[in-house]
Subunit: 545 residues, 2 copies
């Protein structure tokens, strides 16, 4: 038997586009003599459809797509994910299902049992869990078909569920396992995914075909990397990351397991490629083409500009340099040099005149009160406004350039440098931004060395440095990582050896700045815990604050 | 037996404050000779604690509170909500539990079985559902103790669960039902809550004591209105809305059921009181005192100013009037008149000079392109910046004044009039804002009549009116209501008689403006479907857009 895996970059709610892509993949698989082609979880509508699932109209469109795919299942069988209505009044209205289509018909439907409801996932919001499991008989083989999380109650540290669907399927003596997934990217997740899939293969001694979604869906990035494992636990193949791909496998060869593939997984190459795809898909899927961003001469906007130019093309990115009386000469020079290196259009718009008109107009209301955060924020906000004026006038989308460290501790101005339609590096800590810059510069200097080596500064008052108000980033970032990614509290952090006063200060900063992060653009997610939909914190609370 | 219900305004994560409030309520109940006092769901930490629950430190603090409450359970028993660790490795790490404390000890713990995971609720994100149910024996009576949703699988249209906890408890022949809740406010929800509770009483023929949380928790408002029902289905008592309250009941009298209470529930009084509490609690629980907002002379900012003055006191609210060359005279006059009626401080800051400095500085980059949305947005954003400058200089929090209709269709400027730390009327449609204004003016004119009767306008270009770009609000709002609150799709809306082209245009506007709403402040929730945490839509999608 020949089995095709189709990992496709889909578009949430674009039924026509998704169907066309899948029908073309069916033809491709047929031309490669596949007997069966496997698409990914909820492929007909794209994952995650969120509350669109509450619309009857949306479900009808999913059903129409399944019908059309069933018609195309001639001379080839199709496995594809779609929601199914729950005919029982009690319980949730839908199931998250895998359809088995053959001979122009829906032959079998397997629902998902384990519904991820943590981090970015909300599946129990919509779906009733499966309670029945039945293997699929196809061409003399018995297929144990599962959906994503269904195989994740093995091999991970903290099993979230009390049942193991594959254990139930094993009583029906399957010959192979197929799993259709929408398993998102994080820089360490492909490793974990392989670990979990291998734990299944080792337990059940069966070959595994796992089709995973690819593409960016607003902030959630899916890396693909679909896996085929032989019963001996070897990786027979792994599909590429961040690319559409259709590959066909001979089941006998996979069972024989005389092949082992290892795709390289370097952290900063993965993050780089993920962010480039994240930007590209945000624009393409929104029907947008061009981006703008403010270039300060610092490392954050430099890295963002490079990623944008690589995602959208140099002709589709423009930058604006907005020096003030507090800007150093080298800032403008560094920014200009980067723009030239990238071959992108740049405008220089000094902000001093506008700044002074605010000061003048506000003077009678401010009673000679001294320069403080108000005037610093004014500068950041004038820059945000100018960038937005360019955005409005020329139809470019403003990219946000805040990094995860400053987002965490609130070192940014709301409606100022926190403006933008998409946060590109908001899930990348400052120390990681430097690593990303080095990765970008690995073959030739793209980002001026000066932007990398100079001490970080917001340049909102004379001789300001980030380290005036924040700990050094190589001290700050590990605390943030333990608190945000690892959910370690103050006691645990202090036990790890971090300074108690610093721990309390940093945790307090993170918690009291929840209100700022609430108003920020979607943050492209590259870690296991990004700000945004996957991290839900009370804004008004009194915990560690 | 005498049973006390304590509906308290708690503070998420404020363990000391919540404990002190509860200990004082225990003393109060004792002084009224209560045998038992019932607090609300997750009372020790406040509801909803969200991802704070993922911190071991947070759970330890909950456990410490339960210990201290147990010590206080001398001469009185206590029922109180708190998370409990799940000792089994498989499944979620926690239960959402009701503790029964007596004689200085934890006597019994009942976990919650039905975990709401829809709209604003994420309980299955954190909690394992209960599978065991056991009545509590206390002073010769058997108490069937449930938590909020556990009694909601009866009497509502769409039962979301497959089990009914009270059915299981009935086999143990209970004498009364106690339910501890955190059931949020919506203007029609007290009605629905009573309907569901009465369905339980009628089915089981038992008295019901239902303790519900009160207070605003960021955007989620809890109205209290705790209920006591007699087995004959009569409302023996309902605690007040929007207030802390402790009341003690004689069980025999409740069983006798010779009393029926009906608390009035007028939509706009409820919304008014909810928003006032929403503002007050946002400020108080954030340790803030004073607010600022821009006053345009229009109805939205007028209503917001009145609510703010009522919530915080006239001395704690100031307004800023920011006329431009496009502002009509009456706008400034209407705004000034309102400020005087409210006795609040106002500043007038004309924006023309700053506007011209932007135009001047941007001129070389804009190549004489005509006035368009860019220049309109500039005005809105200058106003946002001036208000934020006041906010920064004087420590007032900016209130957002956008209504639900304009939030829905994106008729607002990001980083302009969409600025602010809290959206006060973002869950109130424009037509409802008028009703709210009439309610405010019912006894005497607070909001100038002119603000109510003039046609709505953003005044960003000469003679602009909302109706230039939008349908009239009395046509728009019913479509929005059906789409947002009722999840009706295009087919259903057209079948209701709405114009097809208009339906498609409105739905498209709602969907393509998801990106704007993503960056807005928390919206005080007063309807069954507010923008924000309870409505989760893809930003990059291609559905009805």
């Amino acid at each position: 038997m020949r089995i095709a895996i189709a990992q496709l970059n889909l578009h949430i709610g674009d039924f026509e586009g998704n169907l066309a892509k899948m029908l073309s993949a069916v033809e491709n698989a047929k031309s490669q003599h596949a007997d069966l082609v496997c698409f990914t979880e909820l492929a007909v509508c794209g994952y995650p459809p969120r509350d669109f699932l509450e619309f009857d109209d949306f479900i009808r469109k999913c059903e129409a797509s399944i019908e059309k795919l069933a018609q195309a299942a001639q001379g080839i069988a199709i496995i594809v994910g779609a929601p199914t209505r729950n005919p029982i009044l009690d319980g949730k209205d839908l199931y998250n299902s895998a359809y088995f289509l053959e001979d122009g018909k829906i032959k079998q439907v397997q629902h998902k049992a384990l519904l991820p409801t943590y981090d970015i996932f909300d599946e129990y919001r919509y779906f009733e869990p499966a309670t029945e499991f039945k293997v699929i008989e196809f061409k003399g083989k018995r297929i144990a078909l599962t959906i994503c999380e269904d195989i994740w109650n093995l091999g991970n540290e903290n099993p979230l569920y009390t049942i193991v669907p594959m254990d139930k399927l094993m009583s029906q003596k399957p010959d192979l396992m197929i799993n259709i997934s929408a398993s998102p990217f994080a820089y360490d997740h492909a490793e974990e995914r392989l670990h979990v899939i291998r734990a299944n293969v080792e337990r059940y001694q069966l070959p595994m075909f796992c089709a995973n979604q690819v593409g960016a869906y607003t902030e959630i990035i899916f890396d693909g990397g679909s896996l085929v494992l032989s019963p001996n636990g070897k990786v027979f193949d792994e599909l590429p990351y961040f690319e559409d791909c259709i590959r066909v496998y001979d089941l006998d060869k996979v069972i024989a397991g005389n092949q082992e593939i290892a795709q390289p997984r370097e952290k900063f190459r993965l993050i780089h490629d993920a962010l480039v795809m994240g930007i590209r898909d945000y624009f393409r899927k929104s029907g947008l083409k061009t981006a703008i961003l403010g270039l300060s001469g610092g490392i954050d906007s430099a890295v963002t500009a490079v990623l944008a130019a690589r995602a959208l093309g140099q002709d589709n990115v423009r930058v604006v340099l907005m020096p003030s009386q507090f800007s150093s000469d080298h800032s403008v020079n560094d920014a200009r040099e980067l723009a030239k290196n990238l071959g992108i259009q740049y405008d220089i718009v000094p902000i001093q005149e506008i700044y002074e008109s605010y000061i003048e107009v506000l003077k009678p209301h401010f009673f000679g009160l001294p320069f403080n955060i108000t005037e610093e924020n004014l500068q950041a906000r004038i820059r945000g406004m100018i960038a937005m004026a360019f955005s409005n006038k020329f139809g470019n989308i403003l990219l946000n350039t805040s990094n995860k460290s400053e987002m965490a501790v609130g070192y940014g101005t709301l409606y100022g440098d926190m403006c933008g339609g998409l946060s590109v590096i908001g899930d990348v800590y400052k120390t990681e931004v430097y690593e990303l810059a080095k990765y970008i510069n690995k073959d030739s200097i793209v980002i001026p060395e000066n932007s990398i080596i100079k001490p970080p500064s917001a340049e909102l008052r004379p001789n300001q440095k980030d380290s005036d108000s924040l700990p050094e980033y190589d001290i700050l970032d590990p605390i943030l990582y333990q608190y945000i990614e690892k959910r370690q509290g103050p006691q645990e952090l202090i036990a790890m050896g971090f300074d108690e006063a610093l721990v309390r200060r940093v945790l307090r900063l993170v918690n009291i700045n929840e209100f700022k992060r609430h108003q920020v653009a979607p943050v492209l997610r590259v870690s296991s815990k990004a700000f945004g939909v996957g991290r839900r914190m009370p804004i008004v609370g009194k915990y560690l604050s």
